[in-house]
């Protein structure tokens, strides 16, 4: 396993986590995009060292990179693509409703918390 990859995965995860704890939906969205990258990279890295592209008429099976995690990573990319777009639509809706894209707190929770004091 390569430290460069681990560094990228760790770095993207850190920045991603930092961003998804923000109040602004755009930032949260960015955060998930980065976390998605980190996860995809982790999947890819879990399959072992790099190699030739897994296309049989171009390389021998001994040279190629493990194709399974590539397939998984591809599925993961597509799914996180879809969900990022959905988040975007939510942020857009929030913007239509309230003019900004800030995540609000749950009012009922606040009401109950206030009831205790």
């Amino acid at each position: 396993m390569s430290i460069a990859l681990l560094f990228t995965i760790g770095g993207l995860t850190t920045v991603g986590l930092y961003l998804i704890t923000a109040r602004s939906m755009s930032r949260i969205l960015l955060g998930f995009a980065l976390l998605g990258h980190a996860a995809v990279l982790a999947l890819l890295a879990s399959g072992g060292p790099p190699g030739a592209a897994p296309i049989t008429n171009q390389s021998t099976p001994a040279e190629i990179a493990n194709p399974v995690p590539q397939a998984l990573a591809l599925t993961a990319i597509v799914i996180s693509f879809g969900l990022t777009l959905f988040l975007l639509a939510l942020a857009r809706r929030q913007q239509v409703l309230s003019g900004d894209d800030l995540v609000e707190d749950d009012l009922e929770d606040h009401r109950i918390a206030e009831g205790t004091t």
């Binding site: 396993m1 998804i20 939906m25 949260i28 998930f32 976390l35 998605g36 980190a38 996860a39 995809v40 982790a42 999947l43 890295a45 879990s46 399959g47 399974v68 995690p69 998984l72 599925t75 993961a76 799914i79 996180s80 879809g82 969900l83 959905f86 988040l87 939510l90 809706r93 929030q94 409703l97 309230s98 995540v103 609000e104 749950d106 009012l107 009922e108 929770d109 109950i112």
Partner: protein, 497 residues
């Protein structure tokens, strides 16, 4: 079996697509949805009969060997949970058709198709013998639930939807990381092969994987301290949607946990699971007590009850796993019914707030009866299924001399009972505090809602009545799970092309 498995997964998705194409024709749209989900449900019962008679079976999707392709495994655990899960969706869809023209109805153009997708996802999650396919199935379930939760676009729905989406997306990301860890450590994502290879790992990595997936599935299942998203999001959805969510989604989390953690032999995590289980039970029940809205109380109950299932699993004994499975089977329909009754109450009271309703038992005794049965069951009172389930879990605890968790479980039971009386006193007794009118509902729609709820109550009573058989089946399923050999053999040898 091949046909049955395919039907449960694909038929609802096909129906969803068809219903979407037919969005302009309400009648045929509803029929198509019901037929799709209904076929899947029928197929799942047929699977239960088949597996009960002939043992676990595997379908190799596309005919590929387990090392290369995806397998769907119909073992006893899966075919026990699946029929109940699908029946729930079917009943809720019927209720939703009845409720659609009311203020609390989901948009019927979307609810049907989305429930179809959800059904496909649930079937896939339950049947899959592949960790990554489980991820995909989770995403199917989640994405349809995201849309169901937010499609009406009201402000609190967007807010709660955001909480729900963000927390679950993070859990999904953690799931992907987990797949990466597992694949890096074992070179496979097939559950049967994992059952062989994970126990061979160094204990640090093995327990790390176990703990990581405990967090992943724990978030879906809403255990302490990962449950906060649930009570904030569920109550804002239309009642029918909440009913499905509460009845099913967290249970898929606990289902996956039972499967994964027993198959891979994570017994060392037992103590920590028990601690989490205890806290979850109590905090959930306290949360329920603090609320003053039916849907929020019921949402917190979901959390509390998950604690009991986790307790069964955390005991890591045959009796404990049996109890967890039994609890799971009991809880799914009972919770759904309670939310459906919540929907009926909303319809008649014009609100789900306790302080604004009252005296419904006198005005509408049918609703009181429909509520009382599942409520007593949830509180664990005999002779209902909840009693048997709780009894099974607690007596398993006594067998293992886990005194502390047994005491906590009993204590949480009292709190649950208290919170149920809170609803009862607030809604059914007393006088109607304000003049909110019942939501005008066409008579045949109302009949449909009552019929669906009545059907579901009858279902829970059936489970109560046949609790003996359900227990025996759960016991066999638990034994199969605990000796992972059975599962491995099914997948590697018992393949059906």
């Amino acid at each position: 079996m091949n046909l049955l498995v395919t039907t449960t997964v694909i038929a609802p998705i096909l129906a969803a697509a068809a219903a979407l194409l037919l969005r302009a024709h309400p009648k045929s749209r509803d029929v198509v949805t019901i037929v799709g989900i209904g076929l899947a449900t029928l197929a799942s019962y047929a699977m239960l009969i088949d597996v009960n008679a002939n043992g676990s079976q595997t379908v190799r999707v596309g005919g590929w060997a387990p090392e290369l392709g995806i397998v769907l495994v119909a073992d006893l655990f899966a075919v026990l949970v699946l029929p109940i899960a699908l029946s729930i969706i079917l009943v809720v869809e019927i209720f939703a058709i009845g409720q659609r023209r009311t203020a609390w109805g989901a948009n019927p153009e979307l609810a049907g198709p989305l429930l179809g997708v959800l059904t496909g996802g649930v079937s896939l999650a339950i049947l899959t013998g592949d960790l990554f396919t489980l991820f995909v199935a989770f995403e199917l379930i989640l994405v349809s639930s995201y849309v169901l939760l937010t499609h009406q676009g009201q402000r609190d729905q967007i807010r709660s939807g955001m909480t729900y989406v963000v927390m679950n997306l993070l859990a999904s990301t953690l799931f992907l990381f987990g797949v990466a860890f597992v694949y890096a450590a074992t070179g496979t994502i097939n559950l049967a092969l994992l059952a062989e290879r994970i126990p061979e790992l160094d204990s640090g990595v093995r327990l790390g994987i176990g703990a990581w997936f405990f967090v992943v599935f724990g978030t879906k299942a809403a255990v302490f301290p990962l449950f906060s998203w649930l009570p904030d999001s569920y109550p804002t959805a239309p009642t029918t949607i909440t009913a499905v969510f509460a009845g099913l989604l967290t249970k898929i989390g606990i289902y996956s946990m039972i499967r994964f953690h027993t198959l891979t032999g994570m017994d060392e995590l037992g103590p920590i699971m028990l601690v989490i289980a205890g806290i979850t039970m109590v905090v959930g029940a306290l949360g329920a007590l603090a609320q003053s809205d039916i849907k929020r109380i019921l949402s917190f109950h979901v959390i509390s009850q998950i604690g009991y299932m986790l307790m069964g699993l955390g005991l890591f004994s045959a009796a404990g796993t049996t109890g967890a499975i039994l609890f799971l089977l009991h809880h799914m329909p009972v919770k759904t019914v309670l939310f459906l009754v919540g929907g009926l109450i909303e319809n008649h009271e014009g609100t789900s707030s306790l302080s604004r309703s009252g005296g419904l038992a006198a005005r509408k005794p049918v609703i009181a009866v429909l509520f009382a049965i599942p409520a007593l069951s949830l509180a664990g009172l005999p002779p209902f299924s909840g009693f048997v389930a709780k009894f099974a879990v607690i007596s398993a605890g006594i067998d293992e001399s886990a005194v502390a968790i047994v005491v906590v479980a009993l204590f949480a039971g009292i709190l649950t009972l208290l919170s149920m009386t809170k609803i009862w006193l607030g809604v059914f007794w007393g006088t109607d505090a304000d003049g909110l009118e019942a939501v005008p509902t066409a008579a045949n729609n109302r009949r449909l809602m009552f019929a669906a709820t009545g059907l579901a109550v009858a279902g829970t009573l059936t489970i109560s009545f046949f609790a003996g058989s359900v227990f025996d089946l759960s016991q066999r399923a638990a034994e199969e799970l605990r000796s992972s050999d059975a599962y491995i053999t099914t997948v590697t040898e018992g393949a059906q092309e």
